[in-house]
């Protein structure tokens, strides 16, 4: 075991570890006991509250599946629109012409600095005042607008970092054999950069899926999270059970995306065809918009 922080352990350290383990177990058991008793006091552990999710498919077909479909629809739409837009913005930010580079940089930095929720609220009002989008569609449009504006700028940064991470010799060699600037970008830089930034793009998907929930909580978009309200109302205030199931669905989707991203990263790093450089998911810090872009795929929200 080699860690920067501690050595291979001797007998005294091992005894201390056992002590820590016991103390931690006792503390964890106390918290767990408190959670279970308070859940029990409010009758949230009763089988009736959980039954709808396990004994029949009604809860799934009426509430969860339609909500999940909307979540996935909004996320997919946002990704499909934001990706080309982000690529264009990212390449434009690398332009040799100051009059292209500067305005695009301002746009990208501006949308990265603003919370997605603010963009979504703006979107709803925009569609209701200036367009004739029906009021049923408005929440979806607003959610997608907010997500596209924010994530296109984050993806632009990913694209830019991906291209900048390539060795300089690549574009020098390409120019030496007589390719034009746009050919260098299309034939030499972009294809290599795509492999470099794939993991970061996949983890940006997690941020997008998470941010669709804002639409349900604030904008009456009927996605997965929004199904908790009517569902717990219908099944007799099983709030805790509904939240647990919805959270588990989000975890299942996002955890598989995260795992895929890190598998991809490891595979690309080992691969012989690329330069071996890979943008780690957290490279740009966007995320986590929730942006919490940060770590591990942005924090983004």
């Amino acid at each position: 075991m080699s860690s920067v922080l501690y050595d291979a352990q001797g007998p005294r350290a091992k005894r201390r570890n056992v002590l820590f383990t016991v103390v931690f177990l006792v503390a964890a058991a106390a918290v767990l006991w408190w959670v279970i008793t308070s859940l029990n006091d409010k009758d949230q552990l009763a089988w009736e509250k959980w039954k709808p999710f396990f004994s029949s498919t009604e809860a799934w077909t009426t509430y969860l599946w339609p909500g999940l479909q909307n979540t996935l629809k909004a996320a997919a739409l946002s990704m499909v629109i934001a990706m080309p837009l982000g690529a264009v913005l990212g390449i434009a930010r690398l332009s040799d012409h100051r009059w292209v580079r500067v305005p695009v940089s301002i746009v990208v930095e501006f949308f990265r600095a603003i919370p997605v929720l603010i963009l979504m609220i703006f979107g709803v009002a925009l569609y209701s005042e200036y367009t004739n989008v029906s009021s049923d569609d408005r929440p979806l449009y607003a959610v997608v607008t907010g997500l596209v504006l924010y994530n296109a700028s984050v993806l632009a940064e990913i694209v830019r970092a991906g291209i900048l991470s390539l060795p300089k010799g690549q574009s020098e060699a390409a120019m030496a054999i007589g390719l034009r600037k746009n050919q260098v970008m299309r034939f030499i830089l972009l294809p290599q950069a795509v492999t470099v930034m794939l993991p970061a793009i996949v983890s940006q998907l997690v941020v997008i899926v998470k941010d669709t929930a804002l639409g349900g909580a604030v904008l009456t978009f009927s996605e997965l999270l929004a199904s908790v309200g009517p569902m717990s109302g219908y099944y007799g205030a099983n709030t805790i059970a509904s939240f647990t199931i919805v959270a588990l669905i989000y975890i299942a989707i996002n955890f598989s995306l995260t795992t895929f991203a890190s598998w991809l990263e490891g595979r690309l790093r080992r691969g012989k065809k690329s330069t071996g450089a890979v943008l780690p998911p957290a490279a740009v810090g966007g995320a986590e918009s929730t942006g919490a872009g940060g770590a591990g795929g942005g924090i983004g929200l």
Partner: protein, 221 residues
């Protein structure tokens, strides 16, 4: 031109945003550091707990967590964190939710900072006879802290933007006020510009100042 601002407490709303950011920031720094300590520590059980916490919390939308603190914790289980008015209850609940969420990212940032310190540094330190505490406080942690200023800045900026989610449970911060103003006034573009400007004022300087600090203190390798 800006007379639509009259009658609204714009500064008050942004002040709530700032307060949410500061309280949640301090709280998640503490809880995140504890989690990071568990994740890099020698006790397998605590390592497992840290890993599970980070992986679970990171993959749940913040909106779900915040809504759960209100509908689940407060209204169903009666956890009110010692507050009695509607306003303070929701404020404290959203701080709790923000801490629970953000600390997972703080933990990952700190852990990656510790991992950037080459093992050779600690081995060299042990070779010249430093004991564990000295290795930790003189060699490893100073280098680790200096390399995480950048990632932690990103987490802080994300947190600032994430405080808007508190609007979902009725905390009167900037996004909630923006929604109210747009409903009442016919000044969509101007109102949005004002709020966008407010957030740019909060996040851009943070990023610039701390970005400068992180370059200044970074360990050149």
């Amino acid at each position: 031109m800006f007379d639509f601002l009259e009658g609204y407490d714009l500064l008050g709303a942004f002040w709530v945003t700032v307060k949410l950011t500061v309280f949640a920031g301090v709280g998640s720094l503490i809880w995140g550091t504890l989690l990071a300590a568990m994740r890099v520590g020698p006790v397998p059980l605590m390592r497992g707990f840290g890993t599970a916490y980070v992986n679970i919390v990171r993959n749940i939308p913040l909106t779900v967590i915040i809504l759960f603190t209100s509908l689940g914790l407060s209204q169903t289980l009666g956890v009110n964190l010692g507050a009695d008015t509607f306003e303070t209850i929701n404020f404290r609940l959203s701080v709790l939710g923000l801490i629970a969420y953000t600390s997972a990212f703080v933990c990952e940032a700190l852990r990656s900072g510790i991992n950037t310190v080459p093992v050779g540094q600690a081995e060299a330190a042990r070779a010249i006879g430093l004991n564990f505490t000295q290795v930790l406080t003189l060699i490893v942690l100073p280098q680790a802290f200096r390399s995480v200023v950048g990632p932690l800045t990103n987490v802080l900026i994300a947190l600032t933007k994430n405080t808007t989610v508190a609007a979902a449970i009725g905390v009167a911060e900037a996004a909630a006020l923006m929604k109210e103003m747009i409903e009442n006034e016919a000044q969509l573009i101007l109102i949005s510009a004002v709020f966008a400007f407010g957030f740019v004022c909060l996040t851009l300087p943070t990023g610039l100042i701390l970005g400068w600090v992180s370059k200044k203190v970074a360990v050149k390798r």
